[in-house]
Symmetry: C2
Subunit: 431 residues, 2 copies
């Protein structure tokens, strides 16, 4: 009746878009990361253990005791109105002001990504994204059969001239550019941040081209020095849709994110959300709302920053001390990730089985491209393991890279030794 069979009698009944759905790296990451002997520098799991659990338990308890009937009931498709007001306090930290009506609460900001794409993109429409870009966003664009065009970055993120050129080239080819998707602050996976001047340039290009910017900002409050970077949305409420999340500032298991959108777009997003899930969870929303109202959330974000800064330092110090010559990496000023470039001739995808055999995991760069690029790159996450484990992980990774370099010097590129498709995920026997 079920379970074993691999034959799929329905394969001819699927929608066209279903054929574009392929195994994402995200699923494999969880499995790789879960073996305790492996140091996982792969997954982007926030270190939720830094939250005071008793305080959160109290918060949840108070929600059920005082507002149980509401917490357990259906709510508005747009999200709880008090929470939407509180979200504006949080977005105020990156300069985003709006009316609570302009906000829609979603099941994580991933859902906001999905809804925005659903509202804007027909199959074949072009979305411009950074090179590399967030794997979960690429998955959404793929699911809606968009064409993804990668735009070059440097140490200050998306390059304005490259963006302008990509718009011109794509339009010259007769294609329609629907969105510019960008993570301006503490980029996933690249670990870089757009400076203020660059943000202004990018915004001006989008405005002049009449293309909406989808600004994804899950890490904006997790910078290691100075004030949080000012969001693109802070300077234009019509050209920018801003996505935020409590996954990294409170807890990812709550699945509470949001979008701030221009009025007409927000109306469409609410309709799309009602079709998708009816309404977000009141249970999770009221827990977040009560937490924001009664707990020192800004202090807690400072604690998270300290935790992640210490881990970033552990990563950078040990990379500096241990990586073979020819290896390069970005210096993140916030967030969870550094983007590493292997010495010439090495292939991060082909190397992964040997890394896992040496008990360290990362995400190969190809997962962050939709065009097979990124073979020489990998993403290192420092968010979850303790600093000592990070150092041990880097030590193991350095061994693997050195081993690859020796093999390459003897036999040619690692690519020839063990080719793995650019879009594949770690196979089950590696996990």
């Amino acid at each position: 009746m079920s379970g074993g069979s691999r034959l799929d009698p329905w394969v001819d009944s699927y929608a066209s878009r279903a054929h574009a759905m392929r195994a994402s790296e995200i699923r494999a990451l969880f499995a790789v990361a879960s073996r305790p002997e492996v140091v996982s520098l792969a997954g982007g799991m926030p270190f939720v253990q830094a939250l005071p659990l008793d305080m959160l338990t109290e918060t949840a308890q108070r929600v059920l005791v005082e507002r149980g009937a509401q917490a357990l009931q259906y709510g508005s498709g747009q999200g709880d109105v008090t929470l939407r007001e509180q979200i504006l306090e949080v977005t105020g930290e990156v300069g985003v002001t709006a009316h609570p009506d302009d906000i829609i609460v979603t099941t994580g900001s991933q859902m906001a990504l999905d809804l925005v794409t659903r509202v804007f993109c027909d199959p074949g429409d072009v979305v411009l994204v950074e090179a590399p870009s967030y794997v979960g966003a690429l998955g959404v664009f793929q699911a809606y059969e968009c064409e993804v065009v990668h735009v070059a970055m440097d140490d200050e993120g998306l390059i304005p001239a490259a963006l302008a050129e990509a718009i011109a080239t794509t339009r010259a080819a007769g294609k329609r550019v629907k969105m510019i998707y960008t993570i301006p602050s503490f980029h996933n996976p690249a670990g870089v941040t757009q400076g203020p001047a660059r943000r202004a340039e990018i915004l001006a290009i989008a405005q002049s081209a009449g293309i909406v910017i989808l600004e994804d900002d899950p890490y904006g409050l997790l910078g290691f020095e100075g004030e949080p970077p000012r969001a693109l949305r802070a300077d234009d409420g019509e050209a920018v849709i801003y996505l935020g999340s409590f996954s990294k500032t409170i807890a990812s298991g709550l699945r509470v994110g949001w979008a701030v959108a221009p009025h007409g777009v927000r109306e469409k997003l609410v309709l799309a959300a009602e079709a998708a899930v009816l309404c977000p969870s009141n249970y999770a929303q009221l827990t977040v709302s009560e937490y924001l109202a009664t707990q020192p959330w800004r202090e807690q974000i400072k604690t998270f920053r300290e935790v992640y800064r210490e881990r970033r330092d552990a990563l950078l110090e040990s990379l500096q001390a241990l990586m073979p010559e020819g290896t390069r990496w970005t210096i993140p000023a916030g967030g969870f990730y550094s983007w590493l470039t292997l010495p010439e001739g090495l292939d991060a995808t082909a190397m992964l089985p040997r890394a896992v055999a040496n008990l360290v995991a990362y995400v190969p760069g190809t997962g962050f491209y939709s065009n097979g690029e990124g073979r020489q790159n990998l993403r290192l996450s420092y968010c979850y393991p303790e600093p000592e484990r990070i150092r041990e992980g880097v030590r193991r990774l350095a061994q693997v890279i050195e081993g690859e370099l020796e093999l390459t010097q003897t036999f040619g590129t690692s690519h020839m030794l063990g080719d793995v498709s650019g879009t594949s995920v770690p196979s089950p026997d590696l996990q």
Copy 2:
């Protein structure tokens, strides 16, 4: 910057599907129902007040204290494996056996509806649904630009001969039927239930036509007499995708539902779910899991049944006592709804403003059709108000219908007095 403007500069940038997104009745329902002086027989809100709140508070507390780091973290895209095993205990009540791998946990079963449609339906594909059908399902099919074909029902639900004919007619017109969407038990909105023989006939028709059945079963355990009806899925694990939900048996605010699907379909659903929300909330999932493991959930469902049976009886008795001649309604043996047919010449959509003015609300029948039918019908929900309020609501409704009848006898049909588009929703000034 935001808030007031009604001009939408992005209207030309939307996807084709966005033009099919229109205001659903669901949103308006919440607003109508929220005015305390209105007796709302409109919304389908479960009576969560029947849950012992202290017991649920304890459950949530135990989850955070004992498994806080897991509850607050990202989880698997398919859902928590322990919860999936427990879900099989619940589906066992309606005869559904499966492997935990065949289950995907979703943000309410609405999300499962969305994902199944995403995997199966291209624009223009036909979905066969009951006449009338669940408004939230129609919203999903519309969002994916499906063509919805309604199939006649009687007091035993979907009529097999009409189903076979609809398949033949649609195919003869050169269209592709992708799914049969049905709510076999305690139908929303029709309040009827398919008998065992009829289920076998419907299943045989789908099998012979090679069309997947999407079986939506949120109310299956909420029957008022005897054993829960055996699900269609219990007799075929390949032809049927089964959707279940904890919204009515525990609490809708948790947003935890599921699909049981054939292996290949389930794999696609997980990929679609990862793109849509990454993963369902661990916080909500572990709360449900702990509740199922430690609380007398079968007893609690019995309590819900008693609550809803008493309310159903209050509704039926007062309908019987108060409704003018020529009014008919279905006799639900479970679930939340009765479907009422007005006397000849009356129009439920046109009548709604006068009903709300008389402080009673319902959902006009047109919301449950995609083709403008249902003007003579309305849905009455007895799930949420106390029995005394239900009786008062029916009394108010009877007054309105009688008033309409008098007007009709004097001036002609109510349709002529106040036409409202078949797909419109109550306007804000009525709420």
